[in-house]
Structures are given as structure tokens and as C-alpha cells.
């Protein structure tokens, strides 16, 4: 084994350890990493000049371990039995990079869309079992994706999601470009996670370039990330209320979301905060009066949100619809590698904000938890309401001081591989960047939504078909940043 990790500068960023592994020892190395307390957080194929490689990423605290191996021909041993969260990563690599995984049976297509249904669905047979096909075009203003429900009567036995209808080849399109130019591809992967994706991308590029973010840059990015979380959480609470036809709750939170987006536009010049993150710099210019104005607006919003949430909380008929629906239990969540609000609502207390030295979360920051970690729609909804409080608290603290444009400092030698993990509104987003003489050789964006889709499918089994929209909204995963 050879170690080629980045320089260990004073811990102001997540550290990456790159370890080369022989193909024969691949499974053992991965198993050892998991036994040492690492958590699987992504795997991607790459084709640097030296030849095809397969990299698996493991997280422990603020550190990321990258195990890298060279496939024997196009064949590798699977790790899906020891790390079930690697299922989609292996299927994606098979479809896009032609890798084969020994022992991953059946290796169903994920990104590829074969016509033959039997090739991509799980066979479900029995008396009274039939399929309901839904999508890619849905009834509301919803992103495109296809679901095949295997049901008996109204009861869902299993759902096979078929996403990637919106696959735009963003990663491939970004490759070969310079780090600053390719930022737009990571950002536009998803409108609702634009800041999370851009910050993860910028941080990954900075570790490739050997740059370190000073305090004010860390503050600016944290402000943007929390503004993004604010409007997303407000939107998601509104969406869950819409899922049960509770118009009062839906409209109240939709109105609050609109206010949050107007604050975004006032602070950063864009309702979705596009263009507010740069590689190696922060363009955010916010003089003291503007910051104070936003702070006052957000304080008002906080009071109104708390009042609206109380109404939802004490509406007995609404609460009766949320409880016990779409349960994701703790063990399943941990096994499938669920992240973000979905994992925390199930009792898996992971939040990447606790281990983000490149950002401005204090050492006292702790992952939120609902009153009862029941893992159902009620818990996921409540968790967002709890997180709104901490998000608004952080924003209140950050907006005490003005913001000025700031550049990163050169602090470490350049590295061939950079990885950054950022907590998006939907969970941990992991960005890996491999560079080849100032150009991107590989970009991989594994967002919180990507990590959570298998858990959503699992939580759906056993529920009623008409409850699927509600369960789907309680996870509120993006299709755009999964499909890329």
C-alpha cells in the first residue's frame, strides 16, 4: 500500500487519505475500513492517464479515506454485500464506465434504460399481484421520474424507481475544463441544492489546488448554505402539508418560503443564490446595513414560522395522517447509508455540519433529533421544523457582521484528488474532483438525494399506494442532482 494523502495543514478543512489497494485485496480493505468505524459515502470510476481506476470513499468524522484500485480488465469484486449503500454506485459505474462487479447479482441497469421491463425490475409474483406504472410525467409540478409499483390491492409490496430521465451528462461535460469554468456544471446539477453542490465542488477543487479558506470565506459559505436550507425546509414542510391536502399549512409555509427567497435575492442577488460561490474566493459583498436588514427580516420570519408550525403540530387530523406512514427504521437507514433529515428522523445521528472544519459551524453544533425517532413522515416533518430553529439561530449570529469579498490562501501543495463533504438540505453531498494539470479529469457529485433514494424505496414497501406522494414529499429528494 502506498499513501499519497494531502499535506496535513492545520485542520481547517476535511482531510483526504488516498490509499492504493491491489484488486485481490479490495474487499478486505473495504471491510477493514468499515470495521475501523468508517461509513461508506460513495464510489466512482475514473480514467486518469494512468488507466482506469475504481475509488471507494469512506467517511469518519472530518476525515475521508479513499481506497483506490485498478480493475482487472473491466472486472472487480463487489462490496455491495458488506456496504449495501454501494448498490447504486456500482450499477452506475457498470452503465457509464463498463465496469463489471463480481458477486453483484443481478447487476440491474440504473442509468441505462433498457426497454425490457424484466431487466430492470425486481420480479414480484403471487396471487393478485399487479404492477402500476407511474411517470415519468406526473400530475403536479414535479420533476420527471418513473416508478413501477408492485401492488396487491392498494398495498405496495415493492417499488422500483427508474430515475435518470433527466440525465444530462453533466459530469462528463465538465471534464476537461478548468476548475472555475466547470463550477457551473456542479451548480446547475440542481437548482434547489445549488449552494451545497457548489460549496462541495469548490472545497474539493481547493484541496486539489492546495488552497485554504480563511475565516471570512468560511462564514460566507455557511451563510449561503443555511439560507439554502432555510428555503428548502420551509418548502418541504409546505409540500408535506400539500401531500395530505392540508391547504392551510401548505399555503402558510409556501408564503414563508417566498419570503425566504426574497431575502436570498436581497442578500446575494439571486433567489436560488446562483453565482454566489466561487472556487478559491467568495464574491459575497454585504455591508452592515444590508446584513442588519436581513437579520431583522429573518427574525420576523422566525416568529411567523414558529406560529405556523404550532398550528400544524396541534392539528389533530393532520398529525393523525403523518404518524406511522412511510417508516424507515434505524437499522435499515444505517445499512442503506441514508443521510440528512431522513436518517436523523430514524435515529441515525449523522450531520456533516458537525465535521466541517472548512465552514463556520461551532464545535458545539450537534445533529438535530425529533422528540421520538420513529422514522415516519411525522418524524421527518418534525425534524425539519427543529432544524429550522437552529438554521435561523446560525443565520442570526452570522448576520451580526458584514461580509466582504475574500480570496482563499495558498497553504498546501497541490494534490491529484480532492474530496469534500457538505450537508445539503437533503443530506451529505460528496464531491470528488480528480485533476490532470489544472483541468478536471473526473468530477463526481454524489448528493444527499442520491444516497437516500434506496432508503425511500424501502420506506415505501408495505404502505398504501395513495400514500406514496406523501412519503415521497416527506423525503423530498431531488431528481435533478441524482440524474445529473
Amino acid at each position: 500500500m502506498s499513501r499519497a494523502g494531502g499535506a496535513r495543514a492545520a485542520a481547517a478543512r476535511q482531510e483526504v487519505d488516498l490509499v492504493a489497494v491491489e484488486p485481490a485485496g479490495w474487499r478486505d480493505a473495504c471491510r477493514r475500513a468499515l470495521e475501523e468505524g468508517h461509513r461508506f459515502c460513495g464510489a466512482h470510476a475514473a480514467a486518469p492517464p494512468a488507466g482506469q481506476r475504481w475509488n471507494a470513499l469512506f467517511a469518519r468524522g472530518a476525515d475521508t479515506l479513499v481506497l483506490s484500485t485498478e480493475p482487472d480488465g473491466q472486472k472487480l469484486e463487489t462490496i455491495v454485500d458488506i456496504a449495501p449503500a454501494a448498490d447504486w454506485d456500482e450499477r452506475e459505474a457498470h452503465d457509464l464506465y463498463g465496469l463489471d462487479f463480481d458477486g453483484h447479482e443481478p447487476l440491474r441497469p440504473l442509468v441505462a434504460h433498457p426497454k425490457d421491463t424484466a431487466r430492470w425490475t425486481v420480479p414480484v409474483e403471487g396471487e393478485g399481484v399487479y404492477d402500476v406504472a407511474v411517470g415519468p410525467v406526473h400530475a403536479g409540478v414535479i420533476e420527471s421520474g418513473h416508478f413501477r409499483f408492485h401492488v396487491v390491492g392498494e398495498r405496495i409490496l415493492l417499488v422500483d424507481p427508474r430515475l435518470f430521465h433527466k440525465h444530462r451528462g453533466l459530469e462528463r461535460a465538465a471534464e476537461g475544463r478548468g476548475p472555475a469554468e466547470a463550477l457551473a456544471f456542479a451548480q446547475r446539477a440542481c437548482g434547489a441544492c445549488a449552494v451545497s453542490n457548489s460549496v462541495a465542488y469548490a472545497q474539493a477543487c481547493e484541496s486539489v489546488l492546495g488552497l485554504l479558506a480563511p475565516r471570512s470565506l468560511r462564514r460566507a459559505r455557511t451563510l449561503l448554505l443555511e439560507l439554502e436550507r432555510l428555503y428548502n425546509h420551509l418548502n418541504d414542510i409546505a409540500a408535506v402539508c400539500a401531500g395530505i391536502g392540508f391547504a392551510g399549512g401548505n399555503m402558510a409555509f409556501a408564503a414563508l418560503k417566498e419570503r425566504a427567497m426574497r431575502t436570498n435575492a436581497a442578500l446575494a442577488g439571486h433567489r436560488f443564490l446562483f453565482g454566489s460561490v466561487e472556487v478559491g474566493a467568495s464574491p459575497l459583498d454585504l455591508p452592515a446595513p444590508a446584513a442588519a436588514r436581513a437579520r431583522a427580516e429573518l427574525r420576523e420570519l422566525r416568529a411567523d414560522a414558529a406560529r405556523a408550525w404550532r398550528e400544524i403540530r396541534f392539528s389533530a387530523s393532520a398529525q393523525a395522517r403523518f404518524g406511522g406512514v412511510g417508516v424507515l427504521d434505524r437499522d435499515t437507514a444505517a445499512e442503506l447509508g441514508a443521510v440528512g433529515p431522513a436518517a436523523r428522523a430514524a435515529g441515525v445521528g449523522i450531520d456533516t455540519r458537525c465535521s466541517s472544519p472548512g465552514l463556520w459551524y461551532g464545535s458545539s453544533f450537534a445533529a438535530a433529533a425529533p422528540a421520538a425517532s420513529t422514522g415516519d413522515v411525522a418524524a421527518r416533518l418534525e425534524l425539519r421544523a427543529v432544524e429550522l430553529e437552529s438554521t435561523l439561530e446560525i443565520l442570526d449570529e452570522l448576520l451580526c457582521e458584514p461580509f466582504a469579498p475574500e480570496a482563499a490562501e495558498t497553504a498546501a501543495p497541490a494534490a491529484p484528488l480532492g474530496v469534500a463533504r457538505v450537508e445539503s438540505p437533503r443530506g451529505e453531498t460528496v464531491c470528488a474532483v480528480e485533476s490532470d494539470s489544472q483541468r478536471l479529469a473526473r468530477l463526481r457529485l454524489r448528493t444527499g438525494s442520491y444516497a437516500n433514494w434506496p432508503a425511500l424505496a424501502q420506506a415505501t414497501a408495505g404502505n398504501l399506494l395513495p400514500d406514496f406522494p406523501l412519503i415521497n414529499k416527506s423525503f423530498e429528494l431531488c431528481y435533478a442532482c441524482v440524474d445529473r
Binding site: K166, G191, A254, A255, A308, E311
Partner: protein
């Protein structure tokens, strides 16, 4: 519940919504042909409490069979081309096509060319163009209303 309704009344008052709607109506069917989801957020906001397009008789309907306008977002990926065509073919005539956002208009699209179908303008005749990345709810509302 009453607190929420009072809250909504306040929002509508502050937004200065007119008391009477206009004559006529348009039923809109949205198809996401590969957008980044920002256009969807803004389109959904036009039906929200601050803009409330329903007061003008504009509504987003569940089926293309009920629709007058096919509202398309995104640059049209190869995998969405068929679904988009089928949604259009399912609509009764006369029908309009609206391109929502710069991607649907073929401007500044970020994608691998191999994953894209021909741009919307080449697939269907576009009647309403709403530029922006994404266009704001006001811009969307104004563009659809002025077409009538």
C-alpha cells in the same frame, strides 16, 4: 387553522391581489424535460399565495388531455423526448406550447450534447417564450397572462 387563514389573508392583502379575475381561462400542463428543478420551484410559486395565478383563471392541470398549454422546462434530454411528444399528442386542439426558462429556449445549456434531443423549438412549435435562469414567478405570470 384560523391563525393560518388570518395569516393568509394578511399575505394576500400585502401582495395587493385584485378582487376580480379576468374572463377566459387557460389550463396548463407542465412537463419537465430535464431541468435543474429551479424552474419547477418558481412555477409552483406562481400557484402559491403571493401570486395565486388561479385568480386569473390559470390552472395547472393533472393531465395533458385537460390542457390548453404545454409548459416545458429543461433542455429536452434524449430520455424525455418521447414522453414530451406523447404529452403534446394527448392534448386537444387548439393547443399552445410554452418554453419556460433559458434551457428550454436552448440558451446556455450545460450538458453533454450526446444526452440531448433536438431543442424544443425544433420538436414543437413554441408560442410562448419565458426567458430567465430561472424566470421569477412575476415573469412567468406576466408572460402567460400577456399571451392571452
Amino acid at each position: 387553522m384560523f391563525v393560518l387563514l388570518r395569516h393568509l389573508q394578511r399575505v394576500r392583502r400585502e401582495a395587493g391581489l385584485p378582487r376580480r379575475g379576468r374572463a377566459g381561462s387557460l389550463a396548463i400542463r407542465h412537463v419537465d424535460a430535464g431541468s435543474c428543478n429551479a424552474c419547477e420551484h418558481e412555477l409552483a410559486a406562481t400557484a402559491g399565495p403571493h401570486y395565486d395565478l388561479q385568480r386569473f383563471g390559470l390552472d395547472i392541470v393533472a393531465s395533458p388531455r385537460h390542457a390548453d398549454v404545454l409548459l416545458v422546462t429543461g433542455p429536452v434530454t434524449t430520455r424525455m423526448e418521447t414522453a414530451l411528444r406523447r404529452a403534446y399528442e394527448a392534448m386537444p386542439e387548439p393547443r399552445l406550447v410554452a418554453a419556460l426558462g433559458d434551457c428550454a429556449l436552448g440558451c446556455g445549456v450545460l450538458a453533454d450534447a450526446a444526452e440531448l434531443a433536438p431543442p424544443l423549438e425544433q420538436l414543437l412549435e413554441v408560442d410562448i417564450r419565458i426567458p430567465g435562469c430561472p424566470p421569477s414567478p412575476e415573469q412567468i405570470a406576466a408572460a402567460i397572462l400577456n399571451r392571452r
